[in-house]
């Protein structure tokens, strides 16, 4: 697998789930076990392929695109089929193969109501292609296709296998994201024409000299901003998220938090910033302020929740706020932190949703008041896991959550591209408020743990037989649990891979 020539690897990785989904349709409907095993096989094989690719990746040139495919696609509009992967994409790409694999394993024993494994897993595979594709597409049109592609399977996943308000949530999710994405498309088009290059190539556009006037960039950025900010989601575009998360089946939530939200921030970093640096510069303080509002606000909303899944969902708003704060810093450290926060949030919150799902499987409720505490006594291993992941999520150093949060604040103290001169005071304020947000974050997680984990189990559950972490859960979760620790201890696992690519990115922004 030569990273210079083996473009087929990415194509194969993206195609495998699709082919798998098609083949799965041929399996008989009644043999559910076989369907589930087949899904594990497909996701496993594609994950293995991506792992092999990760090994073959030339880390000394992580700033350059590798495994490139660049062929004509739609001549009429000059769209090309341009895939490639660099240090920024690699961790996210990896994650978008790991999580479906784990989800498939988890689903073998935890298929959400009302069953239909073929449809469920087929949609998941389709979703996988969409998610992974966004991270390696280097043509705006191709990116947009993948970006949009995730909507449909996720819509069905929420709508068919979700909770009681699934229909509302699924429609809301779909429409919200769609709304933003079409604005984004308009901006893409505007850039396409304004650049004079008649090219959709992200690399070319990034390297192009100033596209349009500052005013143009501001407006074009606004369009992309809407698209990506809704996906992230940034305050105040976040309201689809709690509903979608709360209602989605466990695996849906995991993938939603683990990968889907990342597409938004990735879009900012990969597309909006380098292509429209002037617009980005104009928007940076806005992004920063909204990000910090999101941090504080998300935490406050978490404090008001009694539904544990909804709490985790709102925590995403806060965590993604840190990621956006990193982006708002417009410097290398900020982008690094944002990307790290992305990955960390994917792993941690994905894991938290696994836990919340299993919690619901056991207690048949997600209301913390009804659960009433004592879980550490009732199902100790499970309680320990919840504590571990929560603590990671609240940003404890040594676990994955810390680096993104700290890095974002650290980067924001000295924002790049001249922002420090014009908005230095504002950014200092942002850092301080973001830091206060960490306290609130700690607050709601501790409070959650107190209400769920600690104390003695109420009578309702005292005599109930509740299974502790099962074998399949261990299998599905262990990689994430390890990653949470590994990323915390070896931040260079991500920082190091990204470093060169981020430098290249910033250079294209004139930073």
């Amino acid at each position: 697998m030569d990273p210079n020539t083996a473009g087929w690897v990415l194509i194969a990785a993206l195609a495998l789930p699709l082919v798998g989904a098609a083949l799965m349709l041929l399996l008989p409907n009644d043999d559910e076990e076989r369907i589930k095993r087949f899904a594990v096989l497909v996701t496993g094989v594609s994950f293995a392929l991506v792992t092999a690719m990760t090994v073959a990746f030339d880390y000394s040139r992580s700033g350059e695109l590798q495994f490139v495919t660049n062929v004509a696609w739609i001549d009429a509009i000059n769209a090309r089929f341009h895939l490639g992967i660099d240090g920024i994409s690699l961790p996210l790409f990896f994650l978008s193969f790991l999580l479906p694999f784990l989800s498939a394993i988890y689903t073998t024993k935890h298929l959400p109501e009302p069953g239909k494994p073929k449809a469920f897993l087929g949609l998941m595979l389709l979703l996988q292609t969409g998610m992974a594709g966004t991270f390696v597409a280097f043509d705006l049109i191709l990116f947009f296709i993948f970006f949009e592609l995730v909507l449909v399977p996720m819509f069905f996943m929420i709508g068919m296998w979700g909770g009681p308000r699934r229909e509302y949530a699924s429609v809301k999710f779909f429409l919200y994201t769609l709304f933003g994405s079409i604005f984004m498309l308009v901006s893409f088009l505007a850039v396409y024409f304004q650049s004079g290059l008649r090219s959709w190539d992200i690399v070319e556009l990034s390297n192009a000299s100033m596209i349009g006037s500052t005013t143009f960039q501001t407006w074009a950025f606004l369009g992309m901003f809407l698209g990506f900010a809704i996906k992230v989601p940034m305050w105040p575009f976040h309201t689809w998220l709690p509903d979608a998360h709360t209602e989605a089946p466990t695996v849906g939530s995991v993938l939603l938090a683990g990968v889907l939200l990342k597409i938004g921030t990735y879009g900012f970093i990969r597309i909006a910033l380098p292509i429209l640096p002037e617009g980005a510069l104009r928007f940076a303080p806005v992004i920063g302020v909204l990000a910090v509002i999101g941090i504080i606000y998300g935490s406050l909303c978490c404090l008001a929740q009694t539904d544990i899944k909804r709490l985790i969902a709102f925590s995403s708003v806060g965590h993604m706020g840190f990621v956006m704060l990193g982006i708002a810093a417009m410097n290398e450290a900020g982008i690094q932190a944002a990307l790290f926060g992305n990955i960390a949030h994917g792993v941690i919150t994905g894991m938290l949703f696994f836990l919340a799902g299993s919690l619901h499987d056991r207690y048949h409720t997600r209301d913390m008041n009804i659960i009433g505490g004592g879980m550490l006594m009732k199902i100790p291993r499970y309680g320990v896991l919840l504590t571990y992941v929560s603590v990671a999520s609240l940003g404890l150093p040594g676990l994955a959550g810390f680096w993104g949060e700290f890095g974002a604040m650290w980067a924001a103290i000295n924002p790049g591209l001249g922002l420090a001169d014009s908005y230095g005071g504002l950014y200092l304020g942002l850092v301080i408020f973001a830091a206060i947000g960490t306290v609130l974050t700690a607050g709601y997680f501790l409070w959650m743990l107190q209400r769920v984990n600690l104390g003695t189990p109420p009578e309702k559950w005292a005599n109930e037989e509740l299974a502790d972490v099962t074998r399949i859960e261990w299998i599905a979760w262990t990689p994430l649990l390890v990653l949470v620790l590994a990323l915390g201890i070896f931040p260079r696992l991500v920082f190091g891979v990204q470093d060169a690519a981020v430098t290249v990115l910033l250079r294209s922004m004139g930073g």
């Binding site: 949009e148 429609v171 505007a190």
Partner: protein, 495 residues
């Protein structure tokens, strides 16, 4: 002046087909009458052959009133393919419904003669006759469900609004004639160009232009000329509805495109903003109207109104000038229209096909009847899902590319008005998904009613629907198959 018969060969082929169909109908008895359907299909294929034969040619005949260019051929191909699809979904429907089959097919084919003429016509008179050739058979076809009060009413409404529109259009044409003294589109453009240059454009001329647009506005069901559409769609036999919603609308757009981009191009700076506003109102009204429908056909009717609004959008950025950029913007606009129409044809006929399949022998057509369709007929439900997603503009369906084409046309030159139009499209796309998703949701996420009758869509309908769904998806992945064809489209020898 010799007549270039090859140039009108497709029309001649259809005319012959129409007459053969009529004759065959007289000689066939009983269930054998349904064989006129394949007969018509064969004629259509012959016409299609001639279109293919002409592909790439540019010809002019009948004293410049009839032109063969890539624009005309693309539309002709589109119409003929639509005709094939309509024939496909008509077969069972009319064979089982004990209609006047032969006459239906005759009228259908005749209407398509008018459509084929439309994009080739370069003369107001021919345009008018072609338009009427589409309309008059359509009036009858809508009323074909003779014992059905709804059908009769639908026909009357369609007819009255139709003749009112055509009368207004004729009034406009008469004034245009009064100002220019000619009826040829190029000549009109030249004359108006002179008036514009001289700065002596009378308001009456503008009014006349608008009145002509009204005639096409009726065909494409733009607001406020759309009122007939929901009622007529609901009352017509479903294949006729599909024909009206797709082919007739496409013909209207073809006509609108040639009058606006050829004859009235010098005045584009005046009519473009108005059409843009009309487009916004049209799609908004269409989408809002569709939101509350309980009859799927009416929903599709309002949806088609909204779609007309989308297709009308590129007209909003048309340019009156003759610079390079102006030409690029205009070319982008009518190419987008063509692309969208083609995509729209695929997905909308597909949607009607599913509706026919569901209602066959059951009469089901309320949206509520689609509850649990995913369980009752996964194939139909899956196809309907594809069509709904495509109509909404979801990725990997051709609908996305259609929207994309429109947006592309709007942003060729970034203007404030273009962005406003784009923004309107965005917002409307989202509103539209409310009802498209409603259908999808019902099909997959709601249990079917306990007493829901079994569905028997029929083999050939299934085939048509499946191939349309496949086309929707294939074009969704490889829009180049379609856009390569539409992107080269241009008007031959404009002046």
């Amino acid at each position: 002046m010799p007549i270039d018969f090859l140039a009108i060969a497709p029309e001649i082929a259809l005319a012959v087909t129409a007459l053969v169909v009529l004759a065959a109908d007289l000689s066939l008895r009983g269930s054998a009458k349904q064989l006129v359907n394949p007969l018509a299909a064969i004629g259509t294929l012959v016409a299609l052959y001639f279109v293919a034969r002409l592909w790439g040619d540019e010809r002019t005949t009948f004293a410049g009133t009839f032109v063969i260019d890539s624009f005309a051929l693309a539309f002709k191909a589109l119409f003929l393919l639509v005709l094939l699809a309509v024939l496909g979904i008509s077969w069972r429907f009319f064979a089982e419904g004990r209609y006047f089959q032969g006459e239906y097919y005759f009228l259908l084919v005749t209407a398509f003669i008018g459509m084929l003429l439309m994009p080739s016509a370069r003369d107001l008179l021919l345009l008018f006759v072609a338009l009427e050739t589409v309309s008059v058979p359509a009036f009858v076809m809508v009323g074909l469900r003779k014992r059905d009060l709804y059908s009769s009413e639908a026909a009357l409404k369609f007819f009255l609004i139709g003749v009112l529109s055509v009368a207004l259009m004729l009034l406009g044409m008469s004034f245009v004639y009064g100002f220019t003294g000619v009826t040829g589109l190029d000549a009109i453009a030249a004359a108006i160009g002179g008036l514009v240059a001289a700065g002596t454009v009378e308001p009456l001329l503008l009014a006349a232009v608008l009145l002509i647009i009204v005639g096409f506005g009726f065909k494409i069901s733009a607001v406020p000329f759309h009122f007939w559409a929901p009622d007529t769609y609901a009352g017509s036999p479903m294949p006729v509805t599909a024909m009206l919603a797709v082919a007739s609308k496409a013909a209207g757009f073809a006509g609108l495109a040639i009058v606006s981009f050829i004859a009235f191009q010098p005045l584009a700076d005046v009519w473009a903003p108005i059409l843009g506003v009309v487009a916004i109102i049209t799609m908004t009204v269409g989408n809002l109207g569709a939101l509350q429908q309980r009859d799927l056909i009416r929903l599709l009717a309002f949806s088609s109104v909204a779609q007309a609004g989308y297709i009308l959008l590129p007209f909003g950025v048309a340019r009156g000038g003759s610079g390079m950029l102006d030409a690029a913007v205009n070319a982008g606009a009518f190419r987008a229209v063509l692309f969208y129409l083609a995509a729209y044809a695929v997905m909308n006929i597909g949607a009607f096909g599913v509706a026919i399949g569901v209602s066959r022998r059951t009469g089901l057509r309320a949206i509520g009847d689609y509850a649990g369709l995913g369980a009752r007929s996964p194939m139909l439900a899956a196809a309907m899902t594809v069509f709904m997603l495509s109509l909404g503009g979801a990725p990997l369906t051709v609908g996305l590319w259609a929207k994309f084409a429109i947006l592309e046309a709007l942003t060729v030159d970034v203007t404030t008005f273009g962005l406003v139009l784009a923004g309107a499209l965005v917002i409307n796309s989202v509103i539209a998904f409310f009802y498209y998703l409603k259908v999808i949701r019902l099909m997959w996420m709601v249990e079917p009613a306990a007493d829901a009758p079994a569905l028997q869509p029929g083999a050939n309908l299934t085939l048509v629907v499946a191939s349309l769904a496949a086309a929707t998806l294939v074009l969704g992945v490889l829009p180049g198959l379609l856009s390569d064809a539409t992107s080269i489209v241009t008007f031959a020898a404009v002046r």
